[in-house]
């Protein structure tokens, strides 16, 4: 049986942005189906910043999982080992920062191909911000100031943007590019996470009561934003998998 391919993209949140709120991080840990999952942090979008790596280890302690990180700026292992290490994981967690730099560095080290392979083998892939955009075919980044159209690895055949409700300029730019032919896609607020099984969105979950995920597409020259049913994770229940999200249309922003 082929492994289930799963990607979870955060619009923002997890240990990087929500200190003291472990709901999204706990959600991805539970998706692995293991009580003590192996988790590898990829901090390349931040230039492998030391302070970020330290925060990862604080948020993913050894009594909950087997944490590790892969640094590509200070590589000390031989060239073959990143592949073995990454394929051995239950969860690969990609940090925020510059998506352009992230993908540039990954390609230079062949990590893009390894991640593709890991996905097909059933390793859960997740990340926030740049670590969300990277999995999609294209997206909108504002890391360097004004919104920019960026290409991702294309594991998910959609467009994407993050921090959706909190950044007006990014939203406007996304809508403009959708009207110019950018493929339809998904957006998420800070605290909302999109869970894809294969290419398809399976559910939207959130670490905050008001965070939402959105389907965003251009129909007959108009951008239509559909607010997706989003399940708040903070009710203490076990997390069952939902087959497909119900949608509730809202008026489009033009």
């Amino acid at each position: 049986m082929a492994a289930k391919r799963q990607i979870v993209t955060f619009g923002g949140g997890g240990f990087s942005m929500e200190a003291g709120n472990p709901l999204l991080d706990e959600f991805v840990l539970q998706l692995t189906g293991r009580s003590h999952p192996r988790v590898c942090f990829l901090p390349q979008a931040s230039g492998d910043a030391d302070h970020y790596i330290v925060r990862f280890y604080r948020a993913f302690p050894a009594d909950r999982c087997l944490p590790s990180h892969l640094s590509l700026f200070r590589r000390i292992r031989s060239a073959r080992e990143p592949r073995r290490h990454l394929l051995d994981q239950d969860l690969i967690y990609v940090g925020g920062g510059s998506v352009r730099s992230l993908i540039g560095v990954w390609r230079a080290h062949g990590i893009d191909r390894i991640l593709h392979e890991a996905w097909h083998r059933g390793v859960v892939l997740c990340g926030l911000s740049a670590g969300s955009l990277c999995w999609f075919a294209e997206g909108v980044s504002t890391f360097h100031g004004p919104p920019e159209r960026v290409e991702g690895l294309g594991l998910l055949p959609w467009s994407n943007t993050v921090h959706y409700s909190s950044e007006h300029d990014r939203r406007e730019a996304y809508h403009r590019w959708l009207r110019d032919g950018m493929r339809p896609g998904y957006a998420a607020d800070d605290g909302a996470a999109l869970h894809f099984i294969g290419d398809e969105l399976a559910q939207v979950v959130a670490s905050r009561g008001d965070a939402r995920g959105y389907r965003v597409e251009c129909r007959a020259g108009r951008v239509v934003t559909t607010r997706l049913a989003t399940r708040y994770l903070g009710n203490g229940e076990a997390i069952p998998l939902v087959r497909a999200a119900k949608t509730e249309p809202v008026p489009a922003r033009i």
Binding site: G47, F73, S101, G104, A108
Partner: protein, 261 residues
């Protein structure tokens, strides 16, 4: 069109580093030259930026640093900023990542343009090798050849005698696959005018520069170049004076004696 490639240099007061810094600043005729650090190869570490700022803060210059991992204010300002510099200094780290990130942001093209319009390009380690066709990088852990930007012909390897694996990799690669080039020690450097070597400099006793060429049949030649010695009247802080050295020997001997007792 000047490029200064340093085999190993840091913004510290260890022997030779300040002499190289002064030599670099002397390459431009402006009174208060504009110098920008690109710390990309390190992942824009705070340590590299702090050392640069501390060292340059005492000099007559206008310093800045450009962190591509924390860029604010947009990328449109990048071109304007880089092209108005008198000197761009590229720090060390991963050569492979340096070039990958530069290309992702179009910095490689901007630097070529800056070089042609008169900006002095300078750097150490990864920041020196990047200008050549080939360098010997440890970006993947082991020393191996990697392609550079090719502004300068041939190959360059750094930390030549401090890192024997890298030297071996250079000799082997030049004998078989990559074009001839240079091995440069820490605190030594090569100045290129256009694509021609203008001079080799050394700022520390024992720091040299070697020309490495293929001798055919998998062999190589390694020939030391004459270097101009950059003198520095200031005392370096990595070499303690005689009293401190004696005290250290005494303490070491006493602790050794205790260990045996």
């Amino acid at each position: 069109m000047l490029i200064l490639a340093l085999g190993g240099h840091e913004f510290s007061r260890r022997r030779g580093n300040e002499a190289l810094r002064d030599y670099m600043l002397g390459l431009v005729e402006t009174d208060r030259p504009r110098i920008c650090l690109l710390p990309t190869a390190s992942g824009d570490t705070r340590e590299q930026i702090a050392a640069f700022r501390q060292s340059m803060g005492s000099m007559e210059c206008q310093m800045s640093d450009l962190s591509l991992f924390r860029l604010e204010g947009g990328r449109s300002a990048l071109r304007e900023h880089l092209l108005q510099q008198d000197i761009v200094y590229v720090g060390g780290g991963s050569m492979v990542n340096l070039l990958a990130v530069w290309r992702a942001h179009g910095i490689d093209r901007l630097l070529r343009e800056a070089w042609r319009s008169g900006t002095v390009l300078c750097g150490q380690s990864a920041g020196a090798m990047c200008w050549f066709e080939w360098g010997i990088t440890r970006s993947t852990g082991v020393a191996r050849p990697a392609r550079g930007l090719g502004l300068l012909p041939g190959s360059l390897s750094v930390h030549h005698h401090r890192d024997p694996d890298r030297r071996r990799a250079l000799l082997q690669a030049v004998s078989l696959v990559i074009p001839p080039g240079y091995g440069v020690d820490d605190q030594a450097g090569l100045l290129f005018r256009g694509r021609e070597l203008a001079e080799a400099v050394s700022a520390r006793p024992g720091a040299g520069v070697w020309r490495v060429e293929s001798a055919g049949g998998g062999g190589w030649t390694e020939t030391e170049l004459a270097t101009r010695r950059l003198s520095d009247p200031r005392s370096a802080i990595d070499e303690p004076d005689a009293h401190v050295a004696e005290l250290r020997r005494t303490v070491a001997a006493r602790s050794g004696a205790r260990g045996r007792a």
